[in-house]
Amino acid sequence: MTTHTFPDRARVDALDKVRGATQYAADVAVDRMTHAMTVPSEIVKGRLVSVDVQAARAIPGVLRVLTYQDFQDVAEAVLGAVGPYSFRTYHAMLSDRLIYRGEPIALVVAETLEIAIEAAALVTATYAPDAFSPNIDAEGTEVFVPEGSISFGDFDQAFDSAAVTIEAEYNHAAQHQNPMELISTTADFRGGHLYIHEGSQSSGAIKFGVALSLGLDPERVHVMSPTVGGGFGQKNSMQQQTVLVARAAMLIGRPVKLVLPRGQIFHMATYRPVSRHRIRLGLDAAGKIVAASYDGQQQNSRAETFRGAFSETAARIYAIANYRSSEQLIRTDTQSPGFMRAPFEHPASFAFESAIDELAHAAGLDPVALRLANQAETDPVTGLPFTSRHLVECLTEGARRFGWDDRSPAIGSMQDADGLLIGYGVGVGCYKAATSPVIARLRVSADGRSRISLSGHEMGQGMRNVIVAALVARLDIDPQQLEVIIGEPDGAPQHVTAGSWGTASVVPAVEAVADEWRRKLDDLRDGRSVAGNVHQVLFRLKRPYIDAEVQVLAPGQPVAVMDRLRQSLPSAVGPQYPEFVGLSFSAHFVEVRVEPSTRRIRVSRVVSVIDCGTVMSPRTAESQVYGGVIWGIAAALREISEQDPRYGGVLNNDLADYVVPVNADIGAIDVSFVNKPDPLLNAAGVKGLGEVAMVGVAAAIANAVHHATGKRIRSLPIRIEDVL
């Protein structure tokens, strides 16, 4: 069914990546570089009484052991101004206050990494510990209720008069992203300029955040983040260590590099917090869902207001006239949680799509048919039209490809030749189709070279492929000599790349700057356009190059938002635009096979159909969906950040004990796209893809497990003991 508008194109960075030639920020080496290592706190909460650095300092090759007292001059600036550049307001090592396990209490800087590690192990501290609340079930947590929960209609009345009702509570465990590239900062201060190499989804936030924290002119802070080894939301703001490393480089007068060890990332970095979802649904006699309530709780740290906006998507899938939601943040003594791929949409879809399955089961209805019969035509929350919506096609085409009609509805009624129980499950999802403003600069030269600079970060998702695809479709240039500069504020103002808005934001900008460039070329020829290779046209015109620059806004955005973009302040909009609501959609069909004796669950088959508007880069788009589906499998069946509440923090903080799937865990994954251009969001018809790919997978798995075993597992991850 898929007809790609854009041709399949190999990853532009494929050759470098498979040869290991791609350089990530954590690989950077600069002249006279020193190495840093953090010393993690051993208590959860309290005050640092003293830090003994004598033994560490005595190690030959140790240059400096820094404690919070060395960062007093940055404390006020950071606490006062960092807010816009980080959704975390709390930054470690700025005072003697400690608020989470593993928080750094010292930064050792040494000639070599080995010396830094050895010396860090010798730093000791005395603490004045306080009682703490390690998790949402503990004593002493605080409840924070954010404003603006979504409610419409009259839930109570509709629920009370419904023919079939269900009520259930779903739980999602804490999980950590664990991108392959570790979190790192390399800072080099020379000639009054600060140069920072850091794998980030928000190089601009680092530029301005560090400048504010250290009292520097932002024009003197240069950040390089051309290639990120995976972000998934963990690298979407300035990190806690960035300012510390930058300050250390300024104090020592030599470049400093810090690569956080994997074990410390479980504490220093953000993660998907624990969440709880209590859902009630009411169905009328005609098979219409008439009432839904959604009470969500999400774990938070004491310092933050990071909310769990579960109903932003849950309320938009179905035409439910009466919807009520509430939201609570449960403040615990933990490091700040944050955005992890589909941060609210994935747990919300696990809960809501499980509940829909429970409703279908209770009413004796086919789960696909129930979903098809209750599709929202316009946005239930605002009443605005959708920009485009092909979820029905995702469901019907997915059901066809999967062979849903072969499903025998009775629990445990399907088995394979080896006696394994077979279960079929379905789950759908949506994710905002957001857009950020972009400034794009293009130079095309007569010598065959081209350079485009714009806002965007390559976290492995294929941003460069999309940019190349859009540009070569518009201008006849040599793609082999095209340089794409992203993740570098010196090239063009950088907005955070997150929220699946990357493609929908850069493609219109690339097209606009190409058109502007063409216009300038045509102006040279008195407005007469000419076909053919534009490098040759320039050569014939005896023009060494032409520059073009455009700024592109999201639909309905005021021009004033460009001032925010120039300071790298968050400026994206969506799903709600002035005149419409934009969402991407997904439907996932899952087959599980369950061993009858030891109850091992295997996901043997997944069929995913995605409505993300136009598919710009077929190969990287498919890859995104594979990744999303695999992560859905991981979230449903594998990943959990385990905690011993007596100690707080994360106990299984390494990749052996934090269980992510291996190849042997993954069966067949069939990916296809509706590939119909969105008519309203942008001229290219692009919506977002990266996150919607994952939304709905976990519920489809849990629903399939129920179909196979009769066990309704409402807490993720589902492990062997849950189905034994």
């Binding site: 385990e642 903080n653 291996v662 003991e721």
Partner: protein, 331 residues
């Protein structure tokens, strides 16, 4: 890191001479030692590389016994077609361990001495651990004990022996040949591993100056009727939630002798004699296999999060018995 010296030994006599010093550790594949050194658990002052010693990587599958040189790699042993054909329990126990890359490096002798994966043991000084720091206590007791022992634990330690190969070898009555300044000796695997008792810091009965030279396994004509059945949190590259090493001597449907050992649930490779006895002389049926599985876990002590392994383990043993039986008759 702690500075250390490195030297390469040419003969086992060199090694024994070197082992008389303080703080000496042997290294072959290094897959465990480097990991533990990075964690600060092992802090050797001298490392003696034994990988160059000639003759210690030989494998002989003879009519009376199987002999595995301590330096044979896990990959080399596991990929032997004769072993896969005649003793699948041994080949599977290696193939279901670690990753291909680790198996290429790790040796079958070193594998026996890998240390527990207990998070409290591995995760630094803030956690009490009698194995790491004798007398400090055991944080695993009352903690996140999903991966901890139900069998063989003490008030001082409930850390699980993590390996697979030693479990299979224990089921097959294997022993190790060792060398020390006091000469050569042979230790049955059943005696090599210690129960933690009050001294969990000592994993084995090997002396500090003693080196494993080879592993011996008595040959069994019925070795094909065997399997290593490993249940884990993912399909590959994970330690066992529970595993069962099983080999059956069958006379038709009747069991002449059963060999059963458990992994992932005990403080050392765990032989299950009561399960074996229950099967001896009996006809093997699925129901009796499950009875044997349950018998294997008699006396198991569950913690907060690992009680499910009593049932899971019983079923794993039962499945393993049926697989072994099928291999006996079905080929």
């Amino acid at each position: 890191m702690q500075p250390f010296t490195y030297s390469k030994a040419a003969t086992s006599d060199d090694v024994i001479a070197a082992l008389t010093g303080e703080g000496v550790q042997l290294i072959a594949g290094g897959t465990t030692l480097f990991d533990l050194m990075k964690l600060g658990i092992e802090q050797p002052r001298r490392i003696v590389d034994v990988s160059g010693i000639g003759g210690l990587d030989e494998v002989t599958l003879g009519p009376n016994e199987l002999v595995f040189g301590a330096l044979a790699s896990m990959t080399d042993v596991a990929s032997s077609p004769a072993l896969q054909e005649n003793y699948p329990v041994l080949a599977e126990s290696l193939l279901k361990a670690a990753s291909q890359q680790l198996r290429n490096m790790a040796t079958v002798g070193g594998n026996l001495l890998q240390r527990t994966r207990c998070n409290y043991f591995r995760n630094g000084a803030m956690y009490a651990c009698n194995k790491r720091n004798p007398g400090s206590g055991c944080a695993a007791l009352g903690g996140v004990d999903r991966g901890h022992a139900l069998l063989g634990g003490s008030e001082a330690c409930i850390a699980v022996y993590p390996g697979d190969w030693a479990v299979a070898l224990t089921a097959l009555n294997a022993s190790v040949d060792t060398q020390s300044p006091r000469g050569l000796r042979s230790i049955p695997l059943a005696d090599l591993y210690r129960l933690p008792g009050q001294t969990p810091d000592r994993d084995t009965e090997l002396a500090a100056d003693e080196m494993i030279l080879r592993i011996r396994v008595p040959a069994a004509s019925y070795g094909r009727a065997s399997t290593y059945h490993k249940i884990r949190d993912r399909e590959s590259y994970a330690f066992a939630l529970v595993s069962a090493a099983v080999m059956l001597d069958l006379d038709g449907d009747r069991v002449r002798a059963a060999h059963i050992a458990l992994g992932g649930v005990a403080t050392r490779p765990w032989r299950a004699p009561q399960a074996e006895a229950l099967l001896t002389g009996q006809t093997l049926t699925p129901a009796r296999a499950l009875d044997a599985g349950r018998a294997a876990f008699e006396g198991a002590t569950a913690g907060h999060h690992n009680a499910f392994k009593i049932e899971l383990g019983a079923r794993a043993v039962a499945d393993a018995l049926m697989i072994a039986q099928q291999r006996s008759t079905g080929q």
